[in-house]
């Protein structure tokens, strides 16, 4: 299946199903054309994966969705609101309904695990401490780290830090969670834990999840819908099965991790004879 926007006929019903709608996105950083006309739909209640080779700006996409960055052209709507036209206050209100899991967890290093998860609750709600305590412990329980509540971030392993960050991301019961490269650098066990958590959380709380990754195997395993982005454009989209059996040789090379194909193995170089015999 090749890149195509939803047909006009389905738009009316699709509107309500789509939580994040991206149309005509153009974004450049310095001279680098990161996105060159991208259309995306993230449907409610689903795990949507955005994949592509490293450096294609997948993290940038998440920053664009949360309006930490502004595009040169195009619109991004979250729950019907154009995020780049919101006032400061409205934007912050919207962000409390979005959770984000950073690659490194991004926990505040001077606070304990408990205080990190409690942070958004203390900032944005006026709940009494007893209530906050119960909520924090519930979130930690959901990620299996209730017993680690008093540890400091420096005492956690990478996988544990990410789970705590996940607990923090769901502290305010958001509409959606964005995962930035959640599987990078994980051992198979913690990978398995994360994969399970992402899927469970999504289904149990009727969340919408966006997973940005270049790990084909794990991501394709839990995603309901895939987008593959490269060279600033959507190269392929569809359910994992649809994409795996796509006709494009490029998609084939990416999905199956083949060393050579449309993306060449050899970096452009002079002829072999020139270098060795010339």
């Amino acid at each position: 299946m090749t890149a195509s926007a939803p047909t006009p006929g389905t738009q009316a019903t699709a509107r309500r199903d789509v939580l994040v709608r991206i149309r005509g996105l153009h974004f450049s950083h310095r001279e680098n054309r990161v996105f060159d006309g991208v259309d995306l739909d993230i449907r409610r209640g689903q795990v949507t994966a955005i994949m592509g080779p490293s450096g294609t700006g997948k993290t940038t996409l998440l920053k664009l969705i949360s309006a930490q960055l502004y595009p040169q052209a195009g619109t991004i709507e979250v729950d019907g609101q154009d995020v780049h036209r919101l006032s400061r206050g409205e934007l912050y209100r919207l962000r409390t309904r979005m959770g984000m899991l950073f690659q490194s967890g991004a926990l505040l290093t001077d606070l304990s695990v408990f205080d990190n998860v409690a942070y958004p609750l203390r900032e944005h709600t006026r709940l009494p401490p007893s209530m906050i305590r119960k909520l924090v412990l519930m979130k930690l329980e959901a990620v299996g780290l209730r017993g680690a509540r008093d540890l400091m971030p420096s005492e956690l392993s990478g996988g544990m830090a990410r789970r705590v960050a996940l607990a923090r991301a769901i502290a305010l019961d958001p509409l959606m969670i964005m995962y930035d490269e959640p599987f990078t650098g994980q051992d198979p066990m913690s990978m398995g834990v994360l994969v399970t958590l992402i899927r469970q959380l999504n289904d149990a709380s009727r969340l919408t999840s966006i997973v940005v990754s270049h790990d084909v195997k794990e991501t394709a395993g839990i995603a309901d819908y895939l987008y593959i982005i490269a060279n600033g454009k959507v190269m392929a989209q569809g359910t994992p099965d649809e994409v795996k059996t796509a006709q494009s040789p490029w998609v084939d090379q990416f999905m199956h991790g083949l060393p050579d194909g449309p993306v060449h193995f050899h970096y452009p170089a002079p002829q072999l004879e020139q270098d060795f015999l010339g």
């Binding site: 949360s66 930490q68 912050y92 962000r95 409390t96 690659q103 991004a106 926990l107 505040l108 942070y119």
Partner: protein, 259 residues
């Protein structure tokens, strides 16, 4: 040839950009003052970081500077038979100049570099982005308390420096060099004016406090988020902070102590 010109132009534009970003950051910091007053705990923590942790180096330096001033001053003044003015000399030098300036330089080195490293590291580990995503303004939450903590601490530290320095000068002048005790203090009290000298010294230290803290926070906030970038940023804090203090000192001295 044209390339060098182009590069010059680019770096000039880049410098202007940085200046603009620094001012935008400062505007954001100042806007955070009302929220800070509601959570004084944050301010207390920062006064601790900048002020309390600098007391030792400031006090010890002040003591030695005061003692050296008395020593050097005595040798010079005795050539004119004016040893009795030693108290005035030590006190005036400290309260007007050395107190605010040396304290600011010390704080730029100790607390300034620590602030830059802390903020730079938070940027590199995406903690600042994380706060943004949690709908918390990192400028108001992280930078504002640190700015006002520095602003508040500096004049207090400068006063400590000057006070300890005067005492150091007293011990050397009266204790070691034999200047008369009563004359030391009475000459000083006659000549050092509360408004002209002490107040102006305090104003200087507040200005230096603002400058040093602003520079330290901006270098961290604007740092390249890698370990090398953070390390370069801390160096810039110390260097730019020192130069800013000395430059501002010249301007303020000309304004305050000129005619």
């Amino acid at each position: 040839m044209l390339d060098s010109l182009a590069r010059l132009g680019r770096s000039g534009l880049g410098a202007l950009e940085r200046l603009g970003r620094a001012h935008l950051m400062l505007a954001g910091i100042l806007q955070g003052l009302p929220s800070l007053l509601v959570r004084p705990g944050l301010l207390v923590a920062q006064v601790y970081n900048v002020g309390v942790l600098s007391v030792l180096i400031v006090a010890v330096s002040g003591l030695f500077v005061g003692m050296v001033l008395a020593l050097q001053g005595y040798y010079v003044l005795s050539q004119f038979g004016a040893e009795q003015s030693l108290g005035v000399m030590v006190a005036a030098s400290l309260v007007r100049e050395l107190g605010p300036v040396v304290t600011a330089l010390l704080v730029a080195g100790r607390a300034g570099s620590a602030l830059t490293a802390e903020i730079g590291l938070m940027k590199a580990t995406e903690q600042l982005s994380g706060l943004e995503m949690m709908a918390v303004d990192p400028v108001k939450r992280i930078l504002t308390p640190r700015f006002f903590g520095g602003l508040l601490s500096m004049p207090l530290l400068a006063a400590m420096f000057s006070a300890v320095g005067v005492l150091g000068g007293y011990f050397v002048g009266v204790g070691l060099l034999g200047v008369d005790d009563g004359v030391f203090w009475s000459q000083m009290q006659a000549k050092i004016d509360l408004h002209e000298d002490v107040y102006n010294g305090v104003i200087k230290s507040v200005v230096f406090g603002a400058a040093v803290t602003w520079i330290a926070l901006f270098q961290g906030y604007d740092a390249v988020p890698t370990s090398e970038g953070v390390s370069r940023a801390t160096t810039r804090t110390v260097v730019s902070g020192a130069l800013a203090v000395l430059g501002l000192d010249f301007v303020l001295t000309a304004l305050m102590f000129g005619d």
